[in-house]
């Protein structure tokens, strides 16, 4: 199943754990908030992606299914 990251920008408080865990798909803007790559999560990063979702202190990060193009 292909998934990509989505973030609830209202809930997000810029803790930045997601960018630490999956820097290939998440980088932080100058204020500490996540910029998500629109790409599908590749299989070798799936474990890290799930960990980032679980560890987000505000539960703002989620993985959503995406229609394969």
């Amino acid at each position: 199943m292909s998934e990509k990251f989505a973030v609830d920008m209202i809930g997000c408080d810029g803790h930045g754990l997601c960018a630490e865990l999956v820097p290939e798909l998440v980088r932080l803007d100058e204020w500490g908030y996540p910029i998500l790559a629109p790409a599908v999560v590749p299989p070798h990063l799936a474990g890290h992606a799930r960990k980032a979702v679980t560890l987000c202190p505000k539960l703002a990060l989620t993985l959503v299914p995406t229609r394969p193009r």
Binding site: G11, G14, H15, G16, L17, E20, L21, T54, L55, P57
Partner: protein
Amino acid sequence: MITAAPLLSESSYWYLSRASGFVSLALFTASVVLGLLTAGRVSSAVWPRFVTQGLHRSVSLTTVAFLLVHVVSIVLDQFVDIGLLATVVPFVSGYRPLWVGLGAIVFDIILLLIITSVLRVRMKHHTWRWVHWLAYLGWPIALAHTVGIGTDRLWVVVVVTVSLLAVLAAGAVRLAGWRRVVAGRPL
């Protein structure tokens, strides 16, 4: 406290409970400190935030493990009258009901914290957060329970004092971080 000489195994439960109690307090303190550091956004080049958060979760689970040993062993101990009910309902034990009662309150709070955190993804974040604030109530009560149930040794006083200082320091860091986050918002 009476120790009956021939049955060594029975006083073993008592010592087991005391030992696991101190370990539980130390772990609970570590968990509270890690939680405060997570919220205070402490990190460095070699210590990322996900380590603090991850440790907070693992240490909390370990705390529960030792806490269960502490509670079960004191129930099994024959020489003090603390039944299973007294571990969750405060102030009903035969032995030192006040201090054991405080322990029961802490146990209840920690169970609530762990259960809500395990089920965190299934509830509104808002709800989880309000319940988690009970940790600020639970930890001082745990400290009071430890001190009240018997500080007859100096090293216990030392452990308790160090724990208190650690939590206060981490609390200061947390508040400093909170002000930084709030300052980022205009008006």
